[in-house]
């Protein structure tokens, strides 16, 4: 049981390049999330998904796209990377979204992205 995994762990991009971050979970969770973490800003929600084939915008969605073609995977895409997207990206998943025991969000180890 690997929990939540993220690929890659590190990446350096040049401005204008594109890339896709992959998040995978093996807990059969319905909900998945992408956050970015910047110094002094906490975690901010980029996009999330409440189930296979559905996505929704979070607090800071601009410049990112997501897809949830399979229940266990949640992809985050940057079509044209900008230096402002330099950040640490965390994926999380949960069975549902609420205040029950099974609603806890489990986090991946993060992807450190630098855009030059």
């Amino acid at each position: 049981n690997a929990g939540v995994t993220q690929t890659p762990k590190f990446r350096v991009l040049k401005t204008g390049q594109s890339m896709t971050l992959l998040c995978a979970q093996d807990m059969n969770h319905e909900y998945m999330y992408w956050y970015r973490q910047d110094p002094g800003m906490g975690l901010r929600l980029i996009h999330y998904s409440v189930g296979e084939g559905t996505t929704a915008k979070g607090e800071v969605p601009d410049g990112y796209n997501v897809s949830r073609l399979k229940k266990q995977n949640f992809l985050l895409g940057l079509e044209s990377a900008a230096p402002s997207q330099t950040s640490v990206y965390f994926c999380a998943s949960s069975y549902s979204q609420g205040d029950r025991e099974e609603d806890e969000q489990y986090f991946g180890p993060g992807t450190r992205l630098t855009v030059t």
Partner: protein, 113 residues
Amino acid sequence: AQSVTQLDSHVSVSEGTPVLLRCNYSSSYSPSLFWYVQHPNKGLQLLLKYTSAATLVKGINGFEAEFKKSETSFHLTKPSAHMSDAAEYFCVVSSSGNTPLVFGKGTRLSVIA
């Protein structure tokens, strides 16, 4: 709308002394409140959560937090700090079952030997 304010960006304590990390929240509805911990270069781990049951919540590693509705606070405490407690701590709020979590900006806890 919901929000959370962590009152200190950095707290430094000596090993063996009490820890207090302060958090105030704003929510239109009865909130669920969480504390997460992030050790250096790691992901986030849930410490504890309040979900309208007991107002004093006990978590892992000896941490606890008390929900005070009149003060809109959810401060995190531990009686005796350990070196391994050095980490970033996030207070998090969710107003209802269908809203995503909102994170505070974090408090970095340093523990001095």
